[in-house]
Subunit: 251 residues, 2 copies
DNA sequence: TTAATTAATTTTGTATACAATATTTTTTAC
DNA sequence: GTAAAAAATATTGTATACAAAATTAATTAA
């Protein structure tokens, strides 16, 4: 944690002040900036700086930061400021588990409420995914991949559930940025396609199974074992006795 | 909607100012006041008045109201102010549907992760419910009944899911206040007891079935058909032609 | 030079002031 | 007396000012 947080750099091309931006617009811009990785996890979000950038006072920036904090994309440390969230491995597991639970239910609901146009929308979404993957545009792929899950959630026609899925997908993006090991496996598009097919076939058990496996695979592609980061440092450098040596100063 | 919103009356015994309250404490007090029906749905939450009551400036009241708004317990109309939410029938259905989806999943997870102490906690929760029901304390019953679902969610050991269930339970309380027809059926405690038994027996399908039926019964006890309130007024008073008459002024 | 302490600066938390919008009351016309 | 228009009032939205806390820089001692 000793690395210094990078300063906020929302848009390099930005003129110092851009007046007239409303609360919601500023939220959208910051939300996009975080998910598109222009603002990396851990970045400090200074109220003054952001106020200058958007040409508004700290008052309105504060409201936006609180909204982002409620959505878990930003973390507020009292008296210290707001930072782009750095989800812990435990939190990452929690988010993926919540997604399996909720999206399994959404798949069931989608099977009941599906319309042909919904399925067409989903197929187009996967097509866009595949294109971004072929072009090697990793950033677009993360966004479009999440988009598929949002479109699927929308079929359930439940604004509350859509809001929850949106939140979970956003958090997943932050998690991927932090913990994805190597390149993403290109089979993800195919998994989405298979889910669509199972929904169309109204095969509930199979569709649920595919969705759970898909999200589990997503989690398995992450590096989530470094909860003991500091302990590892000790085990790497320490003499026999390991982290217990931490307390002993002499020797 | 022509009925005037009642003014805020948080605690009759309250002295005009009570200094030193922190952000989170004010949130807790307002949250409790709304769920305990001391603040009825539709009540206007004036920033000045609340600031006076809690002995803080509008700045901090504003933050609390925004937090409550994000949790859907309060609704903010731009330039008009904050009001205790009055969920529409459509929203009520949405909330109960989301609960069925999420709590069905929670039941499955609880079956996997249950510990003996968890089950004991649940049984105690139901005991408290039954007591409040026997004493005819309806307000306590609403709170304790929601509490059972929260305790159940906690077994899944997932803070995100607990937060979602907490939000949904709160919204359900507001919904019950608005739409519950007659007295609550006293079988609700028994339904909770049955769910506990099914979880202990690790009978996943039965436990899920019971939870879904329980929440469906809860929804069925509500009066949710008055989405056409205004239209009804017209059909009640109007001459043949019904609501189409609305536009015509003469005659 | 390093470590600890102190001072200076920066940044957040809260109150207040003013502008913009709603609401209420009063006035005016029919 | 009722309805519309205008003025007055009250309330929200935003900017700014000041206090409290944290961070950074400077100073001092070992």
């Amino acid at each position: 944690m000793s690395r210094t947080a990078p300063t906020v750099a929302l848009k390099q091309s930005e003129t110092p002040t851009r007046k007239g931006l409303h609360n919601g617009q500023i939220y959208e811009e910051m939300f996009a900036a975080i998910l598109e990785q222009r603002l990396a996890p851990g970045t400090k979000l200074s109220e003054d700086t952001l106020g200058e950038i958007f040409g508004v006072s700290r008052t309105v920036i504060r409201a936006v930061l609180q909204r982002l904090a409620h959505e878990r994309i930003v973390q507020i440390h009292p008296n210290r400021g707001a930072f782009v969230s750095e989800p812990s491995p435990a939190e990452a597991h929690e988010v993926l588990q919540a997604r399996r639970l909720i999206e399994a239910g959404i798949v069931r609901e989608a099977i009941r409420k599906q319309m042909p146009s919904d399925m067409e929308t989903l197929r187009q979404s996967v097509a866009a995914e595949r294109e971004s993957l072929e072009q090697g545009d990793h950033e677009s792929w993360v966004r479009l991949s999440g988009n598929f899950h949002l479109k699927l959630a929308a079929i359930a026609k439940n604004r509350t559930l859509v809001a929850y899925v949106k939140e979970l997908v956003s958090r997943t993006s932050l998690i991927i940025v932090q913990y994805q090991k190597g390149n993403v496996s290109p089979c993800s598009c195919d998994e989405h396609t298979q889910i669509i097919k199972a929904i169309e076939a109204r095969d509930e058990e199979k569709a649920v199974e595919l969705m759970m496996a898909h999200l589990k695979a997503c989690e398995d592609q992450l590096n989530l074992q470094n909860d003991e980061e500091k302990a590892d440092l000790f085990s790497i450098f320490a003499k026999p006795g390991g982290r217990a040596d931490k307390k002993r100063r002499a020797v």
